[in-house]
Symmetry: C2
Subunit: 196 residues, 2 copies
């Protein structure tokens, strides 16, 4: 059993920012994790399927999106390195979901399968705490997001997003950024043309 676990280092480091993890616990955890590399555009989850796992991004960038009635794609979430991305509605209900999760660039993820998650959490109860804290932050950010959507113009939100997450603006196609911010690519072009 000579296994290289360097691919899990980022996840372990992330976990240790929230909880302490002994060597023993680390050893127990690793067999529950699966490493997977993704090609650009490869789907981790397709709309209409049941989401069966949590995904931690080791490298690259993913998006969670759904198809709208008029045939466009609505992106609700991006994920980059050291972030989790999961359709929690489908994961929770174990019903077919409304979202797809796709790699925007060549990526690598660590997968934690739902069907073994409870067993793992019984062995390492502290992970319940880790995920509680992660979800608490995600939820808090999501509520802030709703506030900004309602109270600030598209342009203001674009400017703020650019200031807060400059790495995204380089890395993600503009039309995807527009989708994530809730407006059309044409409008984003107009906003950007105003920059002078």
């Amino acid at each position: 059993m000579n296994m290289d676990h360097t691919m899990f280092e980022n996840l372990l480091a992330h976990i240790k920012r929230y909880i302490s993890l002994s060597d023993e616990e680390e050893k127990k955890l690793l067999p529950y994790l699966t490493y997977k590399e993704l090609k650009k555009k490869e789907h981790v989850l397709k709309e209409g399927k049941v989401c069966t796992a949590n995904h931690f991004i080791i490298k690259g960038c993913l998006r969670m999106y759904s198809l709208t009635e008029n045939g466009t794609e609505q992106i609700v979430q991006f994920g980059i390195e050291n972030w989790w991305i999961t359709d929690y509605m489908s994961l929770d209900t174990q019903k077919p979901g409304q979202f797809s999760i796709q790699a925007i660039e060549p990526s690598a993820i660590v997968i934690l399968h739902k069907n073994t998650q409870d067993e793992l959490f019984r062995k390492i109860p502290k992970l319940e705490r880790y995920f509680r804290l992660v979800l608490q932050r995600a939820y808090a950010a999501s509520v802030m997001r709703v506030k900004y959507i309602f109270t600030e113009s598209g342009e203001e939100r674009f400017r703020q997003f650019t200031n807060s997450f400059p790495e995204f603006v380089q890395r993600v196609p503009q039309y995807m950024l527009a989708s994530y911010l809730g407006f059309t690519p044409e409008f984003l072009s107009k906003i950007r043309a105003k920059k002078n």
Copy 2:
């Protein structure tokens, strides 16, 4: 020590929907809970203050809102019986927050203070799991909400909300409902006038 704990029954029942709780654990939990009745319009939290607790609604209806630059109120969340309502951004960062939490009608809540929460969770680790599951659902619903905000018209969102939560529509002033749905009371009046 002859204390009546019937005011906590709803919370205990809610917890037991997610985790099992022994009599022993119940006894350990109760001293960490505070019951509080609220007058209509009474604030639990004011914008600019640090949120120091989680709030479980036993009776009544609360709203979480912030003041906008132009002096209006933006409601991001309602809470009714058996729901938690908390400014998780401020609770997490322990910094002054952007939200106020206020009772819309005479209400009653159970308070779980942050400064004793970790001690409680060490005594009853299962509560980490309870809160993880609660937050997971809240976050999943919030992501769905963002999707609907972006992909459906204000009118569509109003009609869906009315169908999903008819009790709210009776109970909450129309202008608050409009705020929560992200449009003006004038527009809501126009939508409703179309109902024939």
